[in-house]
């Protein structure tokens, strides 16, 4: 296959994106801005979200809350997974009850309850995100802990009497890919639910900005906020998570 033939699908994919943008611009021409603003108007607002101080503060608020929530959810989910492993009697309580409960709890339910229970601000937003992300961290880290079976640890102990060394040299490297997997999943979902969590309990952030914009029929800001989320998610994944995953992912 020639180099040109190999690059045809990629060119077709880029062409499809250009066509989609042209189609959007064509459709937007005949519609008022509050129904469908054109790609240029949305693009300008999108740039403003990363440049203009008024918008940048909202973008920054969303970013730091997402990062904090991912860390907290990993700590909480990891803690529950470790507790489940250390105390087998808690298996039904943690994996049988708490996990399915948290897993099927609707995100908007948490958002509404947090808005009722807490004063608007950072806390309700982070609370909602952590509540939603924790089951995903718990599932992945518990799966990782299952991979560390008794025989592997016995082998480690036969090489060293130091428990800390056995954990650092054997258990931790086995668990690492699962922690990274949990981080990837939690990061992806955190961005998806960031807007919902900020809609009702936040006073800053892209979700808050989006709700304000929707109230004033500013559709360019609504769509730009969604694109900002897509951009932030993809940037974090490509620049941070993908390289880490490539380095530590298990070889298949």
């Amino acid at each position: 296959m020639t180099a040109f033939a190999r690059s045809v699908p990629r060119i077709a994919a880029d062409l499809a994106v250009v066509l989609a943008l042209l189609g959007w611009a064509w459709m937007a021409r005949g519609l008022p801005d509050f129904v469908l603003p054109g790609p240029m108007a949305v693009g300008e607002r999108l740039v403003a979200m990363f440049v203009s101080p008024a918008f940048l503060s909202h973008t920054f608020a969303s970013v730091w809350r997402v990062l904090l929530s991912v860390v907290l959810a990993l700590a909480l989910g990891g803690g529950l997974a470790l507790l489940n492993r250390a105390v087998p009697a808690l298996d039904w309580t943690i994996r049988g009850m708490t996990l399915p409960f948290l897993n099927s709890f609707p995100s908007i339910g948490w958002a509404i309850l947090a808005a009722i229970w807490f004063q608007p601000g950072d806390f309700p937003v982070v609370f909602v995100q952590v509540a939603i992300l924790t089951p995903f961290a718990l599932i992945n880290i518990a799966e990782g802990l299952r991979q560390i079976d008794a025989e592997t640890m016995e082998m480690a102990r036969s090489f060293t009497r130091s428990r800390r060394r056995a954990i650092a040299m054997v258990a931790a490297p086995l668990l690492l890919p699962y922690i990274l997997g949990a981080m990837r999943i939690a990061y992806g979902i955190a961005w998806k639910i960031a807007l919902v969590s900020e809609l009702l309990g936040g006073t800053t952030g892209l979700g808050y900005l989006m709700l304000q914009a929707q109230g004033s029929a500013d559709m360019a800001t609504v769509i730009a906020a969604c694109f900002a989320i897509v951009l932030l998610f993809v940037t974090g994944e490509k620049l941070v998570l993908d390289p880490i995953a490539r380095r530590y992912a298990p070889k298949r």
Binding site: V8, P9, R10, A12, A13, A16, V17, F34, V35, L36, V87, P88, A89, L90, D91, W92, T93, G96, M97, P100, F101, N103, S104, F105, P106, S107, I108, G109, I112, L113, I116, W117, G188, W191, K192, I193, A194, L195, V196, L199, G207, M210, Q214, A217, M219, V222, I223, A225, C226, I229, V230, F233, V234
Partner: protein, 260 residues
């Protein structure tokens, strides 16, 4: 005495935990106003109305309709896109490299607000929002299924007949069934959660609409009851319908002879 991992001990600890949660709930309800923490019996009464009172049953039916139609649409559309990418390789980067990541990263609430503007407060808005949120789940899962197809089995099928439709019907289709069931299982869990958000912002009926009314009137027991109904329904359907179905189809049609 109990052993550390005995079933009886696990059940006893789980029952004690549940009793503790209920006691904590009662204690909180006694100290806080009902709009912040309604008592458990009020929530149970409200949840019971979803299966007895005509008005509530109507909303539950509307949500079931929205969830069912959206799953059907997203599955068909996702399946069509995954098949297009599989059989027309030139389209694969556009579908899996551009469309799928975009749909996957675009926030569901964004679709909901856009749908409410484009289609008004209606069933169309709700179905549209749920469908576009579910679409990447169908696309990604069915792609996994198509990529996991055994090339040798396909080659064997080719040696038996040249008709592509027959080959799909008797070889590719059945091999995809475990992935289709797994996809439906994931979609069912997600659809309920998305339906609530979509109906809250863009629906004129359904459980989400009911939650929106309850939120404005600080009728928190309805919010608790809706969440409880969803949590229990999703759990029961997953445990007693989708999990056995996935296991059975995976054993019958899958390559690994069990759950993947």
């Amino acid at each position: 005495m109990f052993r550390g991992d005995s079933t009886a001990l696990k059940a006893a600890v789980a029952a004690a935990f549940l009793a503790l949660v209920l006691a904590g709930w009662y204690a909180a309800a006694a100290r806080l106003p009902p709009y912040m923490m309604p008592p458990p019996e009020a929530v149970l009464r409200a949840a019971g109305r979803f299966f007895t009172a005509a008005r509530e049953i109507g909303h539950l039916k509307a949500t079931l309709f929205n969830v069912g139609v959206s799953i059907g649409l997203a599955f068909s559309l996702g399946g069509a896109l995954a098949l297009t990418a599989h059989y027309a390789r030139a389209a694969a980067p556009a579908i899996h490299g551009r469309l799928s990541p975009f749909m996957n990263a675009f926030p569901g609430i964004g679709w909901t607000l856009l749908a409410a503007i484009w289609f008004g407060v209606s069933t169309t808005s709700v179905v549209f929002a749920i469908t576009v949120v579910l679409l990447p789940f169908a696309l990604v899962n069915l792609r996994e299924g198509l990529e996991a197809l055994d090339g040798e089995v396909d080659e064997m099928a080719r040696s038996f007949g040249r008709a592509g439709a027959r080959r799909f019907l008797y070889v590719t289709g059945p091999a995809l069934i475990p992935f289709a069931i797994a996809t439906l299982r994931i979609m069912f869990g997600v659809a309920w959660k998305v339906a609530l958000t979509a109906e809250l912002f863009g629906g004129g009926e359904g459980l989400g609409y009911l939650v929106n009314l309850a939120r404005q009137e600080y009728d928190t027991e309805i919010i608790f009851a809706v969440v409880l109904t969803i949590v229990v329904s999703v759990y029961l359907a997953d445990r007693f319908l989708f999990a056995p179905l996935e296991f059975a189809t995976s054993r019958h049609f899958g390559r690994t002879g069990g759950r993947r």
